[in-house]
Amino acid sequence: MPDLYAFKAQIGMFDPVALQDHNVCIHYLQERHYRQVDFFESLPPFQCINLGALAAQTRGARTPVVNLEMADDEFALFRWYCLDNAQIYLFLPGGVAKFELRNIQIPYDYKTLQRDPNLVSTEFCVWEINRPSVEALNGMDYALAAVRIIAMGYRFHTLLLPKETVEAIKGGREPCVHVWASGRGQG
């Protein structure tokens, strides 16, 4: 069994969370989707959105990142960073804050890539068309001409698991990788 799990730190491009025929449990809000991977491929780093110009000391509107949405029965594992000097707040789905503490929501910061070169802390999954969204904050005294986000990762196509296999996973008799495809409210 390969050593695969979410939030894995390593040198270079990161590992997928599962391989062909592996079991996964995709957590989306309070739902759990037990699936089996029947296809996966890598997603090279690409510019998934340009939020456009942002005036000094301004927080932009929440914007869906439609280029990160997935087709039916598919989920993706992403890590990401921002090319431009903005703080990025992630929402997954659009109404639920990601990277949430009791008193603050932590944004991606222009120093994140330096402090976390593997981008482990930026990792998230998107289950089907579940509206990842971002807000950009320009806290500086100068305007930004663009706010461009680069994402990379893996795409997984999955099949439903038989009920017996799901029960075996819940009973600890079958291996399964758990991934989280949403934020979560407190409580």
Partner: protein
């Protein structure tokens, strides 16, 4: 113009040799065209990394580099002085790193009759 985080290392590309044959901002010409193909994924921007100029009997003058032309011209760098008959080379360390999201344009502030300036830039394209 934007601020560079240092995580956006790009591709170094030379621009074409462009002749500046007319003075004043209304005659600013494109010296580097930014990638804008509609099917290209992502917004590109460029940072000028090197400027080479040849003053062909244009007299001592200055060249202004920016984006746009006429009243839409936005200056990116301070005026660069160029001496009659000389070649000027402004390498990376001599240029303030400013980022442009539009085609780079340039114009001389004055020219002697019959003279012109050849200019070529090397840019780093990012995005």
């Amino acid at each position: 113009m934007s601020i560079l985080t240092g995580y956006d290392k790009g591709v170094r590309i030379p621009g074409p040799v462009t002749n500046l044959a007319a003075a004043l901002v209304a005659n600013a010409v494109v010296i580097f065209q930014i990638s804008n193909f509609a099917q290209l994924l992502g917004t590109k921007s460029v940072i000028i990394k090197r400027i080479k100029m040849w003053n062909n009997a244009a007299g001592n003058t200055t060249v202004i580099i920016g984006t746009g032309a006429g009243i839409g011209f936005a200056q990116l760098l301070v005026p660069l002085y160029i001496i009659n008959g000389m070649t000027d080379d402004y390498p990376e360390g001599d240029i303030v790193e400013v980022e442009a999201f539009l085609d780079i344009t340039a114009y001389p502030t004055a020219l002697l009759a019959g003279g012109s300036i050849d200019i070529q830039v090397e840019v780093e394209e990012i995005g």
